[in-house]
Each structure stands twice: as structure tokens, then as C-alpha cells.
């Protein structure tokens, strides 16, 4: 069973979002890191890059495969988690404290399209 945290919003492509005002912190779920295996590289956008909801903004790579990251929200990247450049395996250790990017959202209402923890639990149960 993969870990799911209350109070976060989740996408069907297994990203999580934590909202603080108009800033969204984005990462990948425990289900995502488990299904990928050892993560060896995280391709992140640069600060000030624009990203759009449901569009690819980077990738997480295991030894064997690359998995695209899809943005749960639209906006401008304010921060990237530089720690992942040297230690991408942090996403395996704890995918919820180790976020990937922070975004200043254009429209915080976009969050409403995402799942809460209960809905995501059910969604993941259908895939496990």
C-alpha cells in the first residue's frame, strides 16, 4: 500500500499539490515513486518558466525509464528543489517532504479539479 497524505490535492498523473495562498508546491506521490523504482534524475523547469495545467513540465527518470511530469496548475515557477539535482533518490526516501517545484498560480480555482486524499486513495486502489 502506498502512503497518501491528508490535506494535499492529487492529480490522476500522480502529482500532489500543497496550496499556500497563491503558491502551489508540487511533488510526486508515494505511489508514483514506488512504481518507478530508484530515481536517478529529475528534469525540472527553470525559475520564471511558465507551466500550464495538464501539460508536461519535466520528468522523473528511473534507471530504465523516463516518466513525464504533468502540472496540476498553471502559473510561473518560483522555485525548483535544487537538492534533487545532487540527490534525486530523495523522492524515493520521502516523496512528500521532498517537493519538486513551487509555482505562483494564475488561477487557484484550478485546484478544485484535483482529487482530495480520499478520492485519490480510491483512484490508486484501482491501479494497485
Amino acid at each position: 500500500m502506498s502512503r497518501i497524505i491528508e490535506g494535499l490535492s492529487y492529480s490522476e498523473s500522480h502529482e500532489w499539490v500543497k496550496v499556500d495562498g497563491d503558491i502551489a508546491t508540487i511533488g510526486i506521490s508515494d505511489f508514483a515513486q514506488k512504481s518507478m523504482g530508484s530515481i536517478v534524475y529529475v528534469d525540472m523547469p527553470e525559475e520564471d518558466d511558465r507551466i500550464e495545467q495538464n501539460e508536461e513540465f519535466g520528468a522523473v527518470e528511473s534507471v530504465k525509464a523516463a516518466s513525464d511530469l504533468y502540472s496540476p496548475v498553471s502559473g510561473v515557477v518560483t522555485e525548483r528543489n535544487a537538492a534533487l539535482e545532487d540527490e534525486p533518490g530523495l523522492l524515493n526516501k520521502d516523496p512528500y517532504t521532498n517537493w519538486i517545484i513551487r509555482v505562483r498560480m494564475d488561477n487557484p480555482a484550478e485546484i478544485e479539479a484535483l482529487m482530495d486524499a480520499a478520492a485519490y486513495s480510491e483512484f490508486v486502489a484501482g491501479q494497485e
Binding site: S38, Y41, D43, V63, K64, A66
Partner: protein
């Protein structure tokens, strides 16, 4: 979905909780504990692979040596009993049917060919068609054998201690007949990881017992995932990536396994013509400056133009470097040439280098 075949060790893979995936018509273990720990086990100690999916085709008869010299690029007539050689079978146009090992068995005129799982049927038909009118018997023996590869610097000691096999007299690419618990096993000092090691061929039942004995001795079971990262670092080609019907062995840098001094073999005139004309592309290594993962199919660029394509790439588990093998236009194949690999949107600068990223440790 095609009907996937199971190897004789299938039940053990499930019991070990392996992640299973289709490969070459079989359902095979990709990883057990993880690609990285399995890779490191082989480099540092030893690990074992179920390679029972590989095909075995026997060729025997008075004309066998001459026949194999005609369908295989390497020299077979000069091969002594208990020795093996690597090479390829070519199409008349010089493309590769398959890459394989030819073992010369002890009985006169008796050979065993070990071929890629995905090519077993194609190879068998190809060999049978070529054998028409010749005094040879060709048999697909793939179902009769299981195969385990024990790979890594500790392999010889582990075989002695856990399997009771003294294989110290074998050097790389030689083999012998031995036994395990009274049943016949062929042990070959060979493998596809860049490490010393052995490949054991035997009946499914003895292969299962060897596997269990090695498991009980805590030898790390390794999947096809790390088999690929290991062979890649050692600069060894994989059919479908660095070899194929549209690739010449010369382009893949495997000319030393193509003996154009032999009187004739299928594909020889195409090889000679290509040598005469010069290669348009070559297989090279590329090392990227920054960390990123160059994967098969990604374009290699120079001055905004595509000059090549990646065939296999990884962040090397042994060295931590971002490296790949790629076919590249000959004009850019010189070591030290600056090129770029396009990974998604970004171009990552790199340098052409040798395509072996790891110093192989064979017991010669």
C-alpha cells in the same frame, strides 16, 4: 497479446517477488531487489541471471564446420573442441540476422549455437534454409535446456564452494562438461556483463536445483534490467539496439569478429564493398557534461543538425556518468568531437568517447 513462454525458473521468480515483463517472447524477471543493488552485486561480488530464454540450436554432421564457416562471420574451422566463439550471421546485404556464440562440442562435427531469444525461430529457419543440400543436421534444442549466468569476480569461488565445481582451469570462452548432484551440466566461462563468470547449461531440472543452491548461498538474483546496464557499460551490443538487419557489424565496431580472410560466407561481399566504400556512420560512445539520461532514439546534434541517434544510454551505475552509445555520421565520430544529445526540449553538450565505459575483467 502473444502467448508468452515461461522459463524453467518462472515459479522461483514469482516466489522472489520479481517484477516480470515480456522480453523476446518470454515473461522474464526485470528486477528483484532493484537494478542498482543487483548491478553492484555483479560488479563487486557476484550475481545470477536466469538466461533460459536464450535459444540453443545444434548443428552437426560431416559438413558442419564448413557449413558454419559459410553462415557465421567468425572462424569455425579453426575452433578447437571445448572452445567457443562470438560472431554474427549476416544477410547477403551485410545486415545482421543475429549475433551468437558457437560452441564446438567434443564429438566430431558437433556444434551448439546460442542465439537471442527474440530471434530463435528466425535463426532456425535461416539456418535450415542455408543447410539445404548440405550434409548437416540442424535442431532447435531451446526447449531442452535451462541456462543460468553466474557473473562477477566471486563467481569461480562460489561455483567451487556452493556447486562443488572446480572451474579454475577454464579461461574466457572455453567450457567443460561437469555435473551437479550427479546430473550433467555444461559450464562455460563466458557472459555478457564485462565481468568474469560462467554460464551453465543443463536440463530444466538441474538448472532449477543449481538456482536453488545458489539462492540458499545468498547469491543475488539479478534481472534483465541490470543485465542491460552491465552489458552497456562493457560496450557490448544488444540486438535491436546496436545490431539489426539494417546495421553492418563494421558500423557497430565489430569488425574483429568478421573474418574476411575466410574463402566465403553469407554477407562477405557486402562487408568488403562497405570496407571499400567507407563507413557513413559508426557506433561511438558519448559522455554528457551534465547529468541527464540519454535514451535510445534521442537525436545526436552538431550545429543544430541531427548527426546521429542514441542506441542505449544510462547514468552509468558504476561511474555515475551520463553516457550513451550512438550511431553517428563518420565525420563526427572522432574521439573528442563535441556533440549534443537532445533530451526532451534541451540540448545537453557531450564529447565523443570510446563506447566501453567500464574496464572489463575477463579471465583470459
Amino acid at each position: 497479446m502473444e502467448n508468452l513462454k515461461e522459463t524453467c525458473l518462472y515459479d522461483s521468480h514469482l516466489a522472489l517477488g520479481a517484477q516480470m515483463s515480456p522480453f523476446g517472447g518470454f515473461i522474464m524477471p526485470i528486477q528483484y531487489s532493484g537494478i542498482i543493488p543487483e548491478h553492484n552485486a555483479v560488479r563487486q561480488h557476484c550475481g545470477m541471471f536466469d538466461v533460459s530464454h536464450m535459444g540453443e540450436i545444434s548443428v552437426s554432421g560431416p559438413d558442419a564446420a564448413a557449413f558454419l564457416d559459410y553462415i557465421f562471420t567468425n572462424d569455425v574451422s579453426g575452433l578447437e573442441p571445448w572452445h567457443a566463439r562470438y560472431g554474427m550471421m549476416l544477410y547477403p546485404d551485410g545486415g545482421v540476422v543475429d549475433d551468437l556464440l558457437v560452441y564446438r562440442l567434443d564429438a566430431p562435427g558437433s556444434y551448439m549455437l546460442v542465439v537471442n531469444a527474440s530471434n530463435i525461430e528466425k535463426d532456425f529457419e535461416w539456418i535450415c534454409a542455408a543447410a539445404a543440400g548440405r550434409d548437416v543436421q540442424v535442431k532447435d534444442r531451446s526447449g531442452d535446456f535451462g541456462q543460468i549466468a553466474l557473473q562477477g569476480p566471486d563467481s569461480e569461488a562460489v561455483a567451487a564452494k556452493e556447486l562443488g565445481m572446480d572451474l579454475s582451469s577454464l579461461v574466457f570462452y572455453t567450457f567443460c562438461e561437469t555435473e551437479f548432484e550427479g546430473e550433467k551440466v555444461v559450464a562455460s566461462r563466458s557472459g555478457y556483463t564485462g565481468e568474469d563468470g560462467f554460464e551453465f547449461y543443463g536440463s530444466p531440472s538441474v538448472i532449477r536445483r543449481i538456482w536453488s543452491a545458489l539462492l540458499a548461498a545468498k547469491v543475488t538474483p539479478c534481472g534483465l534490467g541490470c543485465r542491460d546496464t552491465l552489458r552497456f557499460e562493457a560496450g557490448l551490443p544488444l540486438y535491436g539496439h546496436e545490431l539489426g538487419p539494417d546495421i553492418s557489424p563494421l558500423e557497430a565496431g565489430l569488425g574483429i569478429f568478421v573474418k574476411t580472410s575466410k574463402p566465403d560466407f553469407i554477407g562477405k561481399s557486402a562487408v568488403l564493398a562497405l570496407k571499400e566504400a567507407g563507413l557513413e556512420r559508426k557506433l561511438v560512445g558519448i559522455e554528457l557534461q551534465d547529468k541527464a539520461v540519454p535514451r535510445a532514439g534521442y537525436p545526436v546534434e552538431h550545429d543544430s543538425a541531427q548527426v546521429g541517434t542514441v542506441t542505449t544510454g544510462y547514468i552509468s551505475i558504476s561511474t555515475g556518468k551520463s553516457v550513451c552509445m550512438a550511431f553517428i555520421d563518420t565525420a563526427f565520430a572522432e574521439k573528442g568531437t563535441m556533440v549534443g544529445v537532445r533530451i526532451r526540449r534541451k540540448l545537453f553538450p557531450g564529447t565523443v568517447c570510446a563506447r566501453r565505459f567500464y574496464e572489463c575483467r575477463y579471465r583470459k
